[in-house]
């Protein structure tokens, strides 16, 4: 793995670690009812977002941030696989699919924040940016992969 590719994989890993930290913090706040470090007035209002019906998964008591822990955790594992296994195309493609799924979910949550709730949660937005960065890093790595060359015609095959 050359330096640029490794740097991109490390970028994905870094995003995963940062995202894990944010998600864990939000989950801890949810579980302990501790005060959240965030603005509660104006367009950035974490409280409004995190106390809305959307802050929990489909009617359960599980906070949405718990899904963030899982997503960033898997993303980190995939990034590690990409770093450890040179040119691990399968891991990279899995990372791409995972990132696209993550971005679609993040876009839905952004829609909820902006349109439904009229408020942004700074911590959530940071996590959403990390999801976007993960996808961009993954796309950049895919661009750097050498394309599969076609089989040369008329060449005798090595027995």
């Amino acid at each position: 793995m050359i330096g640029g590719e490794r740097l991109l994989a490390i970028g994905v890993l870094g995003a995963a670690l940062a995202g894990l930290g944010i998600s864990a913090y939000l989950s801890a706040v949810h579980a302990t009812h501790a005060p959240l470090v965030c603005s509660v007035r104006g367009p950035v209002d974490c409280e409004r977002v995190l106390t809305s019906a959307y802050a929990q998964i489909l009617g359960t008591a599980i906070p949405t941030s718990a899904a963030g822990i899982i997503w960033f955790g898997v993303s980190g594992v995939l990034a590690l696989l990409q770093v450890r296994l040179s040119r691990a195309r399968a891991a990279l493609l899995a990372g791409l699919a995972w990132s696209v799924a993550g971005l679609l979910t993040a876009l839905f949550l952004v829609y909820v924040e902006i349109v439904q709730l009229g408020a942004l949660c700074a911590w959530c937005s940071a996590a959403h940016v990390l999801v976007l960065l993960t996808l961009l890093f993954t796309l950049a790595r895919l661009e750097r992969l050498p394309r599969a060359q076609p089989e040369p015609h008329g060449m005798p095959q090595q027995p």
């Binding site: 796309l139 661009e143 090595q158």
Partner: protein, 293 residues
């Protein structure tokens, strides 16, 4: 000469550079497209929100009930918490009967009222705020009570034609007449039976509308506060008043919404926890009687 491995290019031959774009394709096209798409979607979200945002007080635009509902759904929990029961006089009567469930099998809230009725006009505000804490109420209209009844032209919402999406509750609204008294929805025989039983003594002193049955766990008849509090206002001004927790309207409407919320939490088994688990809701639940949940 040894044969080369298939697919490998001989050393020294022209080879595409890593990260180079395919011929005819701009470099980093997928990345640029992704960033553009995300940016465009966020801008669309902001534009939609801008369209839905309530106008400033005094700039009422009719037909924008969606904006009013969005504002009601966005009232901060901290404000609701600080108001507690407020000045609400909502009189919830606990009942013990077969639980009322809706079409989706969830505990059902039944509201029966009429658009001409000023007490219904008052009650809808609190009910809309409470229901918005458990789901999304859409399709409501803006109207005002009769110009020739008590508390004329009380600004309000109309639940006629509304729909409610919630993981916890079903909501059925019956608006029996418009503000001129012309008939709208009909009360079904089952609803009529509930009203005959619970919209009468000992559950209600006078009966009549508005009548609200909270899953056959609680019933209430009449307004939770005086419609006179809303006199001379329009919907946007009511919404603006609700942003100020020390306003009389906020104390009455949001206080009543908290009482409804406490009862609704009994119906949902205290779910969602972030709505039902607050000290204000617990405190109100201790005072409204009933059981379970």
């Amino acid at each position: 000469m040894a044969a080369r491995k298939p697919g490998r290019i001989a050393k020294g031959a022209a080879q595409p550079r890593r990260g180079a774009a395919a011929p005819g394709r701009p470099r980093h096209l997928p990345i640029l497209l992704t960033v553009a798409l995300v940016t465009m979607l966020v801008l669309v979200f902001v534009a939609v929100r801008w369209y839905l945002t309530p106008a400033a007080p005094g700039q009422v635009r009719q037909g924008q009930a969606g904006q009013v509902m969005a504002a009601l759904a966005a009232i901060p929990q901290s404000e609701l918490e600080s108001i507690g029961r407020g000045t609400s006089s909502v009189d919830l009567k606990p009942v013990s009967a077969q639980p009322l469930t809706g079409a989706r099998g969830k505990p059902q809230v039944l509201y029966v009222g009429a658009e001409y009725c000023p007490y219904c006009a008052a009650q809808r505000w609190s009910l809309a705020v409470a229901l918005s804490r458990f789901g999304t109420l859409t399709g409501v209209g803006l109207t005002s009570s009769s110009s020739s009844d008590a508390f004329p032209d009380t600004p309000t919402l109309s639940f006629r034609g509304s729909s409610y999406a919630s993981n916890y509750l079903d909501f059925v609204a019956v608006e029996t007449a418009d503000r001129q008294g012309a008939q709208l929805d009909k009360v079904s025989p089952d609803q009529q039976a509930l009203m005959q039983r619970y919209d009468a003594p000992p559950y209600s002193t006078a009966g009549g509308i508005p009548f609200v049955d909270l899953g056959n766990r609680f019933v209430t008849s009449g307004a939770a506060y005086s419609p006179g509090l809303l006199q001379g206002m329009d919907q946007q001004q009511v919404v603006a008043a609700l942003q100020n927790p020390s306003s009389a309207q906020a104390k009455a409407i949001l206080g009543s919404a908290n009482v409804f919320t406490a009862a609704l939490c009994r119906m949902t088994g205290q779910q969602p926890a972030n709505v039902c688990g607050t000290p204000a809701i617990h405190s109100i639940q201790a005072s409204i009687g009933g059981s379970g949940g």
